[in-house]
Amino acid sequence: MDQENLKAGYDRWKSGPYTKAKTRFAERMERFEGSSGMEIEPLYTPLDTEHLDYLNDLGFPGEYPYTRGVQPTMYRGKLWTMRQYAGFATAEESNARYKYLLEQGQTGLSVAFDLPTQIGYDSDHELALGEVGKVGVAIDSLADMEILFDGIPLDKVSTSMTINAPAAVLLAMYIAVAEKQGVSADKLNGTIQNDILKEYAARGTYIFPPKPSMRLITNIFEYCSANVPKWNTISISGYHIREAGATAVQEVAFTLADGIAYVEAAIAAGLDVDDFGPRLSFFFNSHNELLEEVAKFRAARRLWARIMKERFGAKDPKSLQLRFHTQTAGSTLTAQQPDNNIVRVTLQALAAVLGGTQSLHTNSRDEALALPSQDSVRIALRTQQIIGYESGVADTIDPLAGCYYIEALTDKIEKAAMDYIKRIDEMGGAPAAIERGFIQKEIEDSAYRYQMEIEEKRRIIVGLNEFTIAEEPPKGLLKVDPAVGELQKSKLAKLRASRDTARVEATVAALGEAARGDANLMPLILDAVRAYATLGEICGVLRGVFGEYKPGGAR
């Protein structure tokens, strides 16, 4: 089409019919904007995408810059992995839930650990009081891990573990369980989150200061590239950054800035970018604003490919591919009229699928109230199955591509995220930006703005600040038996009494010694784990050597 004619036509429409209608009937809002505050135009046309070069900016699925997806066939080959994050109470109860989910057609496991486990405390630590088994399963030693995966063949499932500061220890336990099942490490499939930077910035379950934390991460990269080659060694997470209040642009920017920091750390540790690059994976949030979210996923994919290629000189196509897991946004769920959350989750899941996710967790409707019940978890899984099998959106690749708005927005989000990354680079990279509180402050500002928009009704949340009803308190919520803490403690006491104490002490001491030097700690952690040293003992000796992180950062 002739661009000049188009431009003339657009101007005529905008100043003519559009303005006339708008003057007669005011629009719903003075200014429409997305989560990141970018203005949304009334209409998008080819004029908004004319600067894009199809081959350079979009390309083909499975080809650089991967805007349209990381695989050539995408969901026509195989649907995304439906992976529900689950885990609570004891290893026995979580094991039963995993088996249930696998029977229901779930295709991958995702383990939630309780907070003491995530922070490297045993269940009998004083700070664990009241927390054991609450937000996930309590794992104190290899003995618990054996129960957790009892009857689940580790060469057949892929397992994602939401574990960060003590990721090396839990991965070692997983490898040790596989050994006992007769499965060698090179057959293992799965992911550890292992993303400490976002813990400092947004999620809060850190243990050690940044330097030794980054060392543990690069130790894992190195160990896995030789021994557990199919394992995703990190899941660089925007999910929690978004949950903490960030906008879509901030989610992309801060996550990729963290990713850059990990790549730099690994290169500084002497690794080749193409040795670990293919094992990097990402984890994003999916919010309600469907089109913005689709554009966000596409922008992230293109931006990462460009960063890996241009900045780090990666050559392996797999190093350039941003593969990601998505979870629907827990923070958007309301405690009011909780069934409405099913609809929110549907929209969010749809955005993730239209955005080309590799795996997906859909939240349960009752998560703003309590841990999800079995019924709610099933509905959440069914939501994914309906999208996959009934909606038809999975039948062609990247179906929204070429939509003027989607392409224009993809481009805008990429540019805005790049601007942030430049600012972060100027501060010395993500660790420095976190240290001075920049990233936290940006997230806090967005969170506060969002809350005020809701309170001033500039943002409508159905059932919360509009369309409310009088409600009975919900029933049938899942409660973790408070006895779990005691039960876990007694299991631990039994373990401490029955294991080979000398072997535990020797392996833990050897780990401490190695931590003082610069050896790769993974083999030593594995030795300690095999000797049934507890998570608390292993993290304890590392705490002694590394110290503990204390939050700083100006506000």
Binding site: P209, R436, G437, G547, K550, P551, G552, A554, R555
Partner: protein
């Protein structure tokens, strides 16, 4: 609880009483003059140390580590951490404690957060009131932490026996604290985050500024500088507050500074503080009289109108108003 009972309990190191007394003096609550009168004879024993520096220089972490050092040496520590009050809402986010919470269960450390509250100069009296309470309660060292951005915060730090100025490389404007008039109050200079690039430049800039303000080199001749300053060359120390590296040396330098001041120097410092404080209180009383007394407000209005109409000059009017306020003050006792 009666003020007197609170005072005697605070003197016996009762944490709740100390805390309540600080509130009374900070808020100028009923009976605050009585609190001062009762505690003042018990003050003057603590080593009062001011710590100031720009935002992002790691002050809170540094103060946290100083407290740790003093505790290891068996000395008790009071901390008064001042953060800016929002000029829009009058509220404040007091976040310094965040980095000091490890001491929460140590009875030998007392931490109190304060907002600047936009008081007309009243900040220094509120802060020094809190310091006096902690001093009277027997804390060996009292640390005052303020953001070194405005002149008033810097003045508060200067109420201390020893003033630490913290600087850090890479904040953009490296010399923002080392402005004329601020440089002079530093007794110990700390360059924190010494692993950052640009650290040599910051040290060099401090040295240069110190040379300028050294005896004889001071632009104003240095004639009215403290006697102690003529011999004390402020040390420049480098630290990593995050790991605690170098903080012990700062604590030593503070002790050396106190020793250097000796009886006479310390007296001179405290005299300076007493002068400032007295002037502050006098001006506050005048302001309060103007605010609270209808007759004074009326008279002020009447005089203002008269000035505007050129029936009286501003100076004569001010003297009239001053006399009115004074007469009432003395009548009230």
């Amino acid at each position: 609880m009666a003020v007197q009972e609170l005072v005697s309990r605070a003197l016996a190191h009762d944490v709740r009483a100390v805390s309540r007394l600080i509130s009374i003096v900070e808020d100028r609550r009923e009976g605050f003059e009585e609190v001062y009168a009762s505690i003042y004879p018990h003050t003057g024993k603590a080593h009062v140390i001011g710590v100031t520096g720009p935002p992002g220089s790691g002050k809170s972490t540094f103060v946290d580590k100083m407290a740790l050092e003093y505790r290891a040496a068996g000395r008790t520590v009071g901390v008064v951490a001042v953060d800016p009050t929002s000029p829009f809402s009058g509220g404040a986010l007091l976040g310094d404690r965040l980095r000091m919470q490890r001491h929460a269960l140590d009875e030998g450390v007392f931490i109190r957060s304060m907002g600047t509250r936009g008081r007309l100069g009243g900040l220094s009296t509120a802060t020094s009131g809190a310091v006096d309470v902690l001093d009277a309660a027997g804390f060996d060292v009292v640390l005052i932490e303020t953001v070194g951005v405005g002149q008033s915060e810097v003045e508060i730090a200067s109420l201390a026996d020893t003033v630490i100025l913290i600087q850090v490389p890479g904040l953009g404007d490296d010399i923002q604290v080392i402005k004329a008039g601020i440089m002079e109050i530093g007794d110990v200079f700390v360059v924190n985050k010494k692993d950052r690039p640009g650290v040599e430049r910051v040290v060099a800039e401090i040295k240069m500024a110190l040379d300028l303000s050294a005896p004889g080199g001071h632009p104003e001749g240095g004639a009215d500088r403290d006697a102690d300053r003529r011999q004390w060359r402020p040390p420049i120390l480098m630290t990593m507050a995050e790991s605690g590296e170098g903080v012990a040396e700062v604590v030593e330098a503070c002790a050396a500074h106190l020793e250097h001041l000796g009886g006479a120097g310390l007296m001179e410092r405290r005299l300076r503080r007493a002068r400032a404080e007295t002037m502050e209180i006098v001006s506050q009383r005048i302001w309060r009289g103007l605010r609270e007394r209808p007759d004074a407000r009326q008279e002020a209005e009447r005089l203002a109108a008269a000035i505007a109409e050129r029936r009286i000059d501003p100076y004569s009017a001010a003297i009239d108003l001053y006399k009115l306020l004074i007469s009432a003050e003395s009548a009230r006792g």
